[in-house]
């Protein structure tokens, strides 16, 4: 496999690439458990977060990951920027790149924007979410969470997942469904037609249904998507109450889950809508683990792209070397 410079979509990694990142994330999780969770692996590298759309959670996760690898971090927040003064996206990127940036972490409201940026810079570009299109590090942290929570270091092959809610407008759904299927997970999409992409079919998911109750007793992972209030204005569902009745995790549905079923959510949650029970009372809920794992997985992605050994060539021993406390200092 050729060394990738950027991570724009999880599909670009392939199953082997995903496994490589998840293996690396195990090392990173070990680093994160140390009293001083910091290694010099990316010392001298500069990572710039460029968020054209607000997402404090994702930005903090990436910046924490970069700092734990000793990279320098910069933040470009659009509200304070020249973009509001009419500077083009390209000029903005080229200007920041000229300051010496090794990686851009990009969030943009438009599908495809990270791909355009990738064409304009020699730096690595990590897609931190673009439009409805992709959110590859979310998909990786989801896969990592399933793997660690179910003790499936050997692989996810044969697991069954249902992903419920607004798939149409969800970059998380597109990336997570793709990653899970590449890893051999059987994915059922659960949503009314109004919240499905047009022409949704075998290329998108293994099964599609609008009846959550038909699948809820027979899954290893229940993945709930955020139901956004603004979708009400677009006549996509009649009311949030009806949405909860048909697609929400109610206490009745929680009781129907198999005991080991994981409950996941990309956050932020709409309590009372897609989750109508307190997740703290659900033994299978791994929603906070997803957040914790996000740091390790993003460290793995940054290291995979920027580590001196280069992508795909991070052998176990080389990795071990740079991740040793004080190593190569």
């Amino acid at each position: 496999m050729t060394a990738a410079r950027s991570l724009l979509a999880v599909e670009d990694l392939g199953a082997d690439g995903i496994e490589r990142i998840l293996d690396l994330a195990d090392h990173m999780a070990e680093v994160n458990r140390r009293p001083n969770p910091k290694v010099p692996a990316l010392r001298g590298k500069t990572v710039c977060s460029v968020f054209f759309e607000d997402s404090t959670r994702t930005r903090l996760s990436f910046e924490t990951a970069a700092r734990r690898l000793s990279a320098d971090t910069m933040t470009f927040a659009v509200s304070q920027s020249s973009l509001s003064k009419g500077e083009s996206l390209r000029d903005t990127i080229e200007t920041i790149a000229a300051m010496g940036v090794d990686a851009f972490v990009v969030r943009h409201k438009s599908s495809g924007a990270p791909r355009m940026i990738d064409a304009w810079t020699h730096a690595s570009v990590i897609n931190a979410g673009d439009g409805w299109h992709a959110h590859p590090t979310q998909a990786l942290l989801d896969a990592y969470t399933v793997r660690t929570s179910l003790g499936r270091a050997g692989g996810l092959e044969g697991l069954r997942m249902a992903i419920v809610g607004d798939v149409k407008h969800s970059r998380v759904a597109r990336s997570t469904v793709a990653a899970m299927r590449m890893l051999g997970v059987h994915v059922t999409v659960v949503a009314p037609r109004t919240l499905l992409p047009p022409d949704v079919g075998e290329a998108f998911a293994d099964a599609v249904t609008d009846r959550l109750d038909d699948v809820i007793g027979d899954i290893d992972v229940l993945y709930l998507l955020r139901m956004q209030q603004e979708r009400m204005n677009e006549a996509l569902v009649p009311s949030l109450r009806e949405y909860t009745t048909r697609f929400g995790l109610t206490s009745e549905r929680a009781a129907a889950l198999a005991p080991q079923t994981l409950i996941m959510h990309p956050g932020p949650m709409n309590r009372g809508v897609e989750i109508a029970v307190d997740p703290a009372e659900l033994p299978g809920a791994v929603i906070t683990q997803q957040v914790t794992n996000g740091i390790a997985v993003r460290m793995a992605v940054l290291f995979d792209l920027l580590g001196t050994a280069g992508a795909g060539a991070t052998s176990a021993t080389a990795t071990q070397d740079v991740l040793t406390e004080g190593g190569s200092q």
Binding site: R90, H108, W132, H133, R174, P198
Partner: protein
Amino acid sequence: MSLLITGARVIDPNGERRVDVRVADGIVGQVAKQLEPVDGDEIIDAAGQVLTPGFVDLHVHLREPGREEAETIETGSRAAVLGGFTAVVAMPNTDPTQDSVEVVDFVRRQGERAGSCEVLPAGSITVGRAGERLAPFAELAGAGVKIFTDDGNGVQDPLLMRRALEYADGLGITLAQHCEVERLTEGAVMHEGSCCSRLGLPGWPSIAEELMLHRDIELVRLTGVGMHFLHLSTATSVELVRAAKADGLPITAEATPHHFSLTDERLETYDALYKVNPPLRTPDDLAAIRAGLADGTIDAIATDHAPHVAESKEQPLDAAPPGMLGLETALGVSLASLDMTLADVIGALSWKPAAIAGIGDRHGRPIEPGEPANLTVIDPDEVWEVVPARLASKSRNTPYVGMPLRGRVLHTIFRGTAVVRDATALR
């Protein structure tokens, strides 16, 4: 001074023949098997080439007034004649809108000043293209406007559209619709289908075009007033027009070269170069457009030439404006893509759109003595590739780089004078 065109195969509404043609004083003078040069003749040796009436483009955006950084009437009409067009219909989405005599007079004058081809300003159907009240059809018709459209927007209000048709009756004008039900295309950047599912891009469903087309066909049936339909893009649209014509309704339709040569897969690169309205569609739609042109359901090839500066296309798809260049590549794309006789392609580029534009008295004419000399000489077999930097248009947003085009415009004669010689603009 006169112009002698020798050796050409002539294709015009009267058919095909091998003749020499002398042009003088803006009109076709002599036509004969063989004409001898006389003193002062400028000679065009067109042996092996094809002489046709000049092409007529029903649909161009020349951007002047208002967006002169993207195109001017001078650069756009130069691009037109390089594409073999001797008349173009300039869409009214200018700033200010072409909804007053002052603005349409300005556009026409700028066309005359540039002197390359005839620039026919279209009027808008509604004031400011806002879809609220009718533009002054009769005043504009008095200023020579023949085609009225809100192109870029469809007229959403069915009551207003009905009134527009009824009021237009008898004024000698044609209303042209951009078919798009806007409630179905909010935020859309590409064809709604499997591509947009995968790419996470908001889709522009075919039904948004077909619903308005169907509505307007029924309004034509109700009012008896004819209409022209702009840039058809879907298989069902072709079917609707075919059925309406079979019913004898007075309608005409056009299709663009990009809708019969490119499909929605182009958007996989997220390159806004391929964003256009209506969007590039599926291979089935493309095949239906080709078949519609071949059987005459679609009357004319029109480019929807839409220049945009590079910066505006270097944006994410939702922010970038729709549209692509077309004037200089229309013939080459048409002959490379369409399974039609050369005469049928020329007809769809020349005399059929000339009739729709209401200029059949001076464009798309038979090449006979006494006729206005708006002519084009093409090499129908030359294979070539477009080089953006060499385009006469002020903008570079052509989607055809790297695609072999067939058929090259060599010479264009406007009102008896060569304005393009050897594929080079002279004005």
